[in-house]
């Protein structure tokens, strides 16, 4: 690997940049040329703000696929190296070799993040690379077998690895969680939470719907009692209805129904897909409202996954409920 590091140092010197790496990012990409190209492009956005060394491990090509480059920015009187990008083909490498190479390319004593875009999670290479990383970021619903990925992720929930994992599929649900939660910031409406009997979730693919249902269950103390059904703490049944609707990996609506006839609706505005309509109808009706959907771009989402602190165990609790739901499904 010395030749790559030498080439990198030379490129940095040619640009006159001072090395300011604050983060190592190991990105593993397999069988996805579009994602590979995206990773190469997005590095600039990541590096602009934080000073990354990105080690892009391309599992679709052999070691003839090698490249290094640096990106610098002017900051006052100083030229800073904001990005060091190393790309290397690793198709022929086994898990041990892969770990060794990645290790040699890291800037020592700097926090390391693994961005995993492999086909499977049940993969020795994943386990090997996880040993190098303080945080692991993946996107369970990105591939063709999204539900399988989610199942494999759920299987890790009992391992120490789980606390280091951030799933972009879950993180991008944050605006939906926030908008669903905001109804119940009003104490009068919060009284309706124990009376929820039915949840409707419209999304383009299943993992998002499982995540949202499981999140609600975890927060409200519901226990899975059948596939797509929970029992609330009083023992009453809560039905979950999934509607496959809209773009893949996107939620387009959530509705909560109560036994008293209230309906809390969060739906994408038919005229603007970045605007959400909030409605409370029935027993405690409120004037409808529109709010922006802060659907963050994937670069910002990855940035959050890398930097944001733990959510106090909410994600792990959600994952546990997803696991139970998927077991009941089987």
């Amino acid at each position: 690997m010395d030749d790559l590091l030498t080439a990198l140092a030379q490129d940095r010197r040619d640009r006159g940049g001072v090395c300011t790496t604050s983060q190592n990012v190991i990105a593993f990409v397999e069988n996805d040329e579009a994602l590979l190209a995206w990773m190469a492009r997005s590095g600039e956005s990541f590096g602009e703000a934080h000073g990354f060394r990105i080690i892009l491990l391309d599992a679709s090509h052999g070691d003839e696929a090698r490249a290094v480059r640096t990106q610098c920015k002017e900051c006052g009187d100083t030229t800073l190296t904001s990005l060091e990008h190393i790309q290397i083909g690793v198709r022929q490498l086994d898990a041990v070799q892969l770990r060794s190479i990645a290790h040699d390319l890291l800037v020592p004593n700097v926090r390391t993040v693994l961005l995993w875009a492999g086909t499977r999670l049940r993969d020795e290479r994943f386990t090997a690379l996880c040993e190098l990383a303080q945080r692991i970021v993946l996107f369970s619903s990105a591939g063709a077998a999204a539900l399988q990925s989610l199942q494999e992720l759920c299987a890790m929930n009992d391992t120490p690895l789980a606390e280091r994992i951030r799933d972009l599929a879950y993180m991008r649900l944050l605006p939906w969680q926030d908008l669903t939660a905001q109804f119940f910031d009003e104490p009068d409406l919060a009284e309706e939470l124990p009376s929820i009997t039915r949840v409707e979730i419209a999304s383009g693919s299943e993992p998002e719907a499982y995540y949202l249902a499981a999140w609600l269950a975890g927060r409200l103390g519901w226990q899975p009692c059948a596939h797509l059904a929970f029992c609330n703490p009083r023992g009453d049944r809560v039905r979950i209805d999934f509607h496959k609707q809209g773009r893949p990996r996107r939620v387009s609506g959530v509705a909560l129904h109560t036994s008293g006839g209230c309906r809390f609706g969060v739906t994408v505005d038919p005229d603007a897909d970045d605007v959400i309509c909030l409605t409370v109808t029935g027993c405690k009706a409120r004037p409808p409202r529109c709010v922006p959907l802060h659907d963050v771009d994937i670069v910002s989402l990855v940035e959050r996954a890398i930097f944001e602190p733990d959510d106090g165990g909410v994600y792990l609790e959600t994952l546990a409920h997803v696991r139970r739901l998927l077991e009941l499904r089987a």
Binding site: A181, Q182, P187, D271, D311
Partner: protein, 520 residues
């Protein structure tokens, strides 16, 4: 486990209820439902700053779910005309560009207007009825934020009318009532005290939010983070290591169309007494016991208390005033102050003020704090520069090398950030030493755009967080500090005016006060 959301009890204090869905979800949304009333809603401040700020707060989903806005001013508008006017304000001045229609329509239905005469109590009673309707229609609660965006001369009248129409906090125990008072808070010590006396008749101090938009700027807030979220600065933040502190608020603009106002104000009242003094307090204060608003404001007040106002005899040794003449700014010839519209041809108003103050406490005794602010200067810059003491003994460097003192610069605008100057060896056989600068820039450092100050401050007032607002005791003390200068400057006409060319660094005399001013 979960965050809480307030509801109101009879004493106006929040009761809390648990929303279990909030756990692990950070939200900037303001919890309390509320209505904001803008007095002076047809004015320039509302048009350029306040309405765009409200829209952006909605766009970023920070406004409370149940929210209302009422405009109250003399200009005749129907509700629909006012909504159109508000939309135009956003389209013209918002940082986020033209409105998003569906969001705007939602906000617009919560906006209404009252054409009013501030002398007529019945118009304030109409306001009371409208607020009741908002509570019913929009569940906006009985929480009211009154924003005085009118000329200061009207402040006492509005406050008195709120009481007469029973819209004061004493008449409504179910929610909270707060008032935002725009600067200037008085034009001198006596008028500030008179205004405060009127305010106190209706609002207690915890309900008054005196706005100084400088305090809403991200970098100003970062002064405390720099000092108290790091260990490396605070130990050297004392007279033992700091040689001097410079605070600069320089503008390239002249008085524009504000000649009439500026004639009665001047640089000392317009900038030094409020903005610059607040920066000084943040730099010089002791670590507060907590991040609580009053803990911070207590420490700021202590700084002002420790500044000894100059005696009349000391005024000219401790200060310099200036007035700009015609000159060149940004390659354009600009007129002198005395030929600006609404300015007297023999005006004695200063457009530049520089001061040297001392803070008489253990931390700062003997360290000069140089403050300067002016119009039509060479560069638009607001910054705080802390110059550290020279090294005690020279070990390095060739004879020709100058070993410069370390300087920490907190850049407030433009290019918000922090830089540190230090010395380093120049690579090579010789032992040359040269100063280099290490820069941190907010824009590239975090990759996010800071929100304008008004957005932050309006949201804070709605949340009831007074940290970034000025408390009366500090306002009063700041006036006490500058009063001797005001009195002497007013009584003795400066025959050297105009004494600096537009586009320059200010009057020559300022260099006698401080030969080490950083070049503009």
């Amino acid at each position: 486990m979960a965050t809480t959301s307030p509801a109101q009890t009879g004493d106006g204090m929040a009761k809390t209820s648990v929303n279990p869905l909030r756990a692990g979800i950070e939200s900037s949304r303001i919890a309390d439902p509320s209505t904001i009333v803008f007095f002076g809603a047809s004015g320039d401040l509302f048009k350029r700053m306040l309405m765009p700020a409200i829209y952006n707060l909605r766009l970023n989903d920070i406004l409370p779910a149940n929210f209302g806005l009422i405009g109250f001013a003399r200009t005749p508008f129907t509700d629909d005309q006012f909504r159109d006017y508000c939309k135009q304000c956003v389209n013209e001045f918002s940082r986020s560009g033209p409105v998003k229609e569906s969001l705007w329509n939602d906000l617009a239905q919560r906006i209404s207007y009252i054409t009013a005469n501030f002398d007529d109590t019945s118009h304030f009673e109409t306001l009371g009825q409208r607020l009741d309707e908002y509570e019913k229609d929009f569940h906006a609660g009985r929480n009211r934020l009154f924003y005085l965006a009118t000329p200061p001369s009207v402040f006492p009248k509005i406050i008195a009318q709120l009481k007469a129409a029973k819209l004061d906090p004493a008449h409504d125990k179910e929610g909270w009532s707060r008032i935002i008072v725009e600067k200037p808070f008085g034009t001198d010590l006596a008028s500030a005290r008179a205004l405060q006396a009127e305010v106190e008749k209706v609002f207690n101090e915890s309900q008054v939010y005196r706005i100084d938009h400088y305090l809403g700027k991200e970098t100003v807030q970062d002064i405390m983070a720099l000092r108290f979220a790091n260990t490396i600065f605070e130990p050297i933040w004392t007279r033992n290591y700091v040689q001097s502190v410079q605070i600069t608020a320089a503008e390239t603009l002249g008085v524009e169309n504000r000649g009439a106002y500026y004639e009665g104000a001047g640089a000392l009242r317009d900038m030094i007494q409020n903005h610059v003094m607040n920066l000084l307090a943040l730099v010089a204060m002791e670590p507060p016991a907590s991040s609580d608003a009053d803990a911070i404001r207590n420490e700021k007040y202590k700084v002002f208390s420790a500044i000894e106002p100059p005696s009349p005899e000391q005024v000219f040794q401790m200060s310099v005033r200036g007035q700009y003449d015609a000159g060149t700014v940004g390659g354009e010839t600009v007129p002198g102050y005395r030929t600006e519209p609404d300015v007297r041809p023999d005006s004695n108003t200063e457009t530049y003020a520089a001061l040297r103050l001392y803070i008489n406490n253990w931390r700062w005794a003997g360290v000069p704090f140089f403050l300067r602010s002016g119009k039509r200067l060479a560069r638009k810059v607001s910054e705080i520069a802390i110059t550290f003491s020279p090294i005690p003994h020279r070990l390095f460097g060739e004879k020709s090398d100058t070993i410069e003192q370390n300087v920490l610069v907190i850049k407030i605008q433009p290019d918000e950030g922090i830089s540190i100057r230090f010395n380093a060896k120049v690579p090579g056989q010789k032992n040359h030493i040269r100063s280099v600068t290490m820069d941190f820039n907010y824009g590239t450092g975090f990759g996010v755009q800071s929100a304008p100050a008004y957005e932050r401050l309006i949201a804070d007032a709605m949340r009831g967080d007074a940290t970034l607002f000025t408390r009366w005791d500090a306002v009063e003390r700041a006036w006490e500090v500058v009063m001797p200068l005001l009195e002497v400057w007013q009584s003795i006409k400066d025959r050297t005016f105009p004494n600096y060319a537009a586009g320059s660094d200010g009057p020559q005399a300022a260099h006698a006060l401080n030969p080490g001013w950083r070049p503009l």
